[in-house]
Symmetry: C2
Subunit: 146 residues, 2 copies
DNA sequence: ATAGCTGCAAATGCTTTGCAAGGCC
DNA sequence: GGCCTTGCAAAGCATTTGCAGCTAT
């Protein structure tokens, strides 16, 4: 799907989208954050990346970012609601660009993660929390052995 | 709930249960494995421990076990179907003594984990896997912010 | 100008591994 | 006796942190 045009002209999300998005959540649109946000959101809302993934991708595209900054940025984005953390493996943390309510298919062998649209799965009879505590989130992971 | 009798007389599971259980799955009943198994299963099937937890507990009771052996043992038990791994945090791995199908409440602040009986929750309309792959497991985690 | 960011490298913390010594069958 | 286990310490890895220098506004 690569084209000959340079990557900054090649995004479905225009520059101003990313920029405004950062401003809106109160993060200074620095070069690194802009670049990472563009990578993350350019193909719509269906990416699942690790810090390592995103760091490699950035470097591959010639963006100078340190791994530490990628980690910091991913956590900032998550905190601001631009990303969602998905915990499926103890060894790696995935970040998901789809912040709406949904579950995941997880291919354990390949490490691939796939969204399950909220309307294609349904939990009936959610039990009450033992102490009446408020539910923050419900994670559903369907594990697949391949 | 502590009594004055020594801990080995104090278990709801008799010694031979643990011993046979180990034999049955093909693990040599060594001193360490027996001791850890007794700790894990003594209070029925509702424990959620980390390696660190179990290691501390063992040492508190005067059982000489190294942390590495606790890790190895937990993984062996898991592999043999005596335990189940629960992944809720990227920083820690929990092991659950309840191997039947069930979900979990997870109290994020305190790190407490609580079983959700399978019959008190239900997923309706499980979506087919994209490629017809076989489902290995479905994890349900209800996160609570306290 | 200045508060906030970034990069690097070092530190951290959980988990795994290598290998010699010990224990079960 | 022979093979599986254990223990320890060291290694491994993903992630976090401290701090000096940079940069948006």
């Amino acid at each position: 799907m690569a084209s000959i045009t340079n990557s900054s002209q090649n995004n479905s999300r225009p520059y101003t989208f990313t920029l405004n998005q950062l401003r809106k959540v109160g993060l200074r649109p620095t070069r690194q954050r802009l670049a990472l946000a563009k990578l993350l959101f350019k193909d719509g809302n269906n990416r699942h990346v690790t810090a390592e993934d995103l760091h490699s991708e950035a470097r591959r595209e010639g963006i100078g970012v340190s791994l530490a900054t990628v980690y910091n940025t991913l956590h900032q984005f998550t905190q601001k609601g631009l990303l969602r953390e998905v915990i499926v493996e103890s060894s790696r943390t995935y970040f998901c660009t789809n912040t709406s309510d949904h579950g995941h298919f997880f291919y354990e062998k390949s490490g691939r993660l796939l969204d399950i649209p909220a309307d294609s799965i349904e939990i009936s009879r959610i039990p009450p929390t033992p102490d009446g505590a408020e539910i923050k989130d419900i994670d559903i992971i369907i594990r697949i052995d391949s």
